[in-house]
Symmetry: C2
Subunit: 414 residues, 2 copies
């Protein structure tokens, strides 16, 4: 018999009616398959608990915050089990500790070290639908921990790996992963499938839907993931290994991140260790760096640029000016109102012409490239934010992403 | 260093302000003593959870109901720990499973089998205030269980026993145990102390304050209990073993239960096993029987009476008429509008004159005794309900319960 793991987020469990709907769907699925359901806290519950803790302590101890937060998923797991039982099907809830989801002791952001799925497998073999509280585990000392952002996605992927499930379905409030943001690009299509690596590189499109940790785990243990809507029956997007009979496209999708700031160090005297000095300070300050670009030096001086989110602008610029002074840089400046636009696809690595098609397409609509970085399956350009939407649409058309894959033109230079 | 266990009920944890108050009190106490705090769910939380489960399932599975209910105490434990930490004192929450409060598998009414207090003791020795989620445990298979009514009281008494605590303080919304119900008897005094057995016999006065299971456990392991108000600093009532330097009084208090119904079997032919037949049927029907009185038989016929709560009247009478028919009884009838009035005291067993003083006092105010039963430390009379309040006041005065114990007259016949 097949085994599927299904994960439902808070919005899919936001009311008594929603929970009953999930229960009916689970009972239907249990006719054909063994079913494990991973649940998040009911929508609004986590906010309620955080607000409550905030009224009791300025900085609640992380250990206790995890004990509090874990009640949200615990309640969801028991309530869904009740709803399933009410439909006449056996159901059993499992908390993180009950199936020994062992984590490190990094409260509020713990990493899963091990899962003992024996109890779970036993319950499934006894005909139960297993309902697992997501987001939580226990450390080796028996302390309750939570997994941080994307925790329930991670629980689902980890359980699918531990039980060798045939499929891990992530039910959410979107229909899947799209070839571009449909709000920017009306021609965007829902992808039938995408590789783990492509999904990870599609950060701005994918991360709101499915946390990168879950994708990484799924990739490591070769878990077939599916992202789909809990509000309709339409198929979602399948996230699988590239070898697995995947449609043969070069570029899977176009992503766009706005509110990007570039920090530029101009004329750093060539000294071994300068980048290390810069980025260790930036890291200590808790600033997220995205692209880093360093040109080869000329005349003993180097230029180095990197991008950061807008929110960190002031702090980062002040810090970098200080660092630049110490390094003897000619100048340190920032550029605002930028966007990062990327094409992502497993085929990019083997198609030399992809980059030139991208640059030609951008030039055609008058978009200048301010910074550029490439990886095996992604090419990213930093451009003026005002031109970003038009650039997305141009690239989407240039790579035929508005066409169903089977009708797509073969990419010329492949 | 001394060790105290404190238990706070839901009304003492009903708001952020109440939780902060409990935290301040705990930090104060921690200056002189090691402190374990056992918490109930915040007032209203249990009702909220029950309502939620009721909307999801007509009869929620008991196992899942326990998983849901346990979130209430879990949240309280983490929130109080945060509030204590916010005052600058170390605090650590413990769930039932984390200190191995092992129970049987009787969901929603589990009994504690064992506690492993090692982790708790370690935390106390490390300078933490330990905050334990009451009402919950785990069975030998790792299922979460709850202890049923009075569960947090029971957790507190059991923890006090397991840690050999010097005192177990039950904080509640009353000031202690009174010599009679102050609403009936304005002269009623708060008792400074009472024995475990007296407390158990004072059911109608005591059970609303402290669950008999907790008293029984405390008695078994010789745990000193104190019942006191969480709304003021006044000392409460100490519940201890009778040997322990207790004030030497004969009668500790007067209790009164109203809405009592008597069922009378008249003229049952003497047959071995008749009482067994009656009470096994009554028990199967789930009817709570209180007093049972059987007179010695005359002429081969026996009368047998017992009391039940008013709510079971119709069901019990119909059932007993059927049983009476089968036994060949002359008649089965019920008497309504009765009250049970009792005097309770460790000294009753050694004072022959107590009963006669009771009867004389009742006769003086014109109260006739309809049924009568005695035990070692209790004498109960069934009387007309309309006369009950006056009877309580008369007995309260007759046994000098309106006088402070040190000024009380020595009871004449002792």
């Amino acid at each position: 018999m097949t085994l599927i793991v299904r994960k439902y987020g808070g919005t899919s469990l936001g009311s008594v009616e929603s929970i009953k709907k999930v229960a009916r769907s689970a009972v239907n699925a249990a006719g054909q398959s063994q079913v494990i359901i991973v649940v998040s806290a009911m929508a609004g519950e986590t906010d309620r608990l955080i607000a409550l803790s905030g009224r009791l302590a300025a900085t609640p101890p992380a250990r206790e915050l995890d004990v509090l937060m874990a009640t949200g998923e615990q309640a969801s797991a028991s309530l869904l089990s009740m709803a399933i039982a009410d439909l006449g099907h056996r159901a059993k809830s499992f908390l993180g500790g009950q199936i020994r989801i062992t984590t490190d002791s990094n409260f509020s952001g713990a990493r899963i070290l091990d899962i003992d799925a024996e109890e779970l497998t036993k319950a499934l073999d006894d005909g139960f639908i297993a309902v697992v509280a997501g987001f939580q585990g226990v450390d080796r000392s028996g302390n309750l921990t939570t997994l941080g952002r994307g925790g329930s996605d991670t629980t689902a992927a980890a359980l699918a790996a531990a039980t060798s499930a045939d499929l891990c379905e992530i039910y959410t409030d979107v229909e899947g992963i799209f070839s571009a943001d449909p709000r920017i690009c009306p021609d965007a299509r829902k992808l039938k499938e995408i590789s783990y690596d492509e999904m990870l590189e599609m950060a701005s499109l994918g991360a709101k839907v499915l946390h990168p940790r879950a994708v990484f785990l799924a990739s490591k243990y070769n878990v077939r993931l599916s992202v789909r809507s809990s509000f309709n029956e339409r198929p979602g997007t399948l996230i699988i290994a590239p070898g697995e009979n995947m449609e043969d496209v070069v570029v899977r999708g176009i992503t766009c991140e706005k509110d990007v700031i570039a920090i530029r160090f101009i004329g750093i005297p060539d000294l071994i260790g300068a980048p290390q000095k810069i980025f260790s300070s930036i890291n200590e300050a808790g600033i997220d760096v995205d692209l880093i670009i360093q040109n080869s030096s000329t005349d003993g001086f180097t230029d180095l640029s990197f991008t950061i989110p807008k929110k960190d602008h002031d702090q980062a610029l002040a810090l970098c000016r200080k660092i630049g002074g110490g390094l003897g840089a000619v100048n340190v400046e920032s550029v605002e109102d930028l966007a990062k636009i990327s094409i992502v696809g497993q085929g990019i690595r083997s198609s030399a012409g992809v980059a030139s098609t991208m640059f030609a397409s951008l030039a055609e609509v008058g978009v200048g490239i301010k910074m550029l970085a490439t990886s095996e399956i992604k090419i990213s350009c930093i451009i003026e934010q005002a031109l970003a939407d038009e650039a997305v649409r141009a690239l989407h058309t240039a790579f035929s992403l508005d066409q169903p894959p089977d009708q797509a033109e073969t990419f010329p230079n492949k």
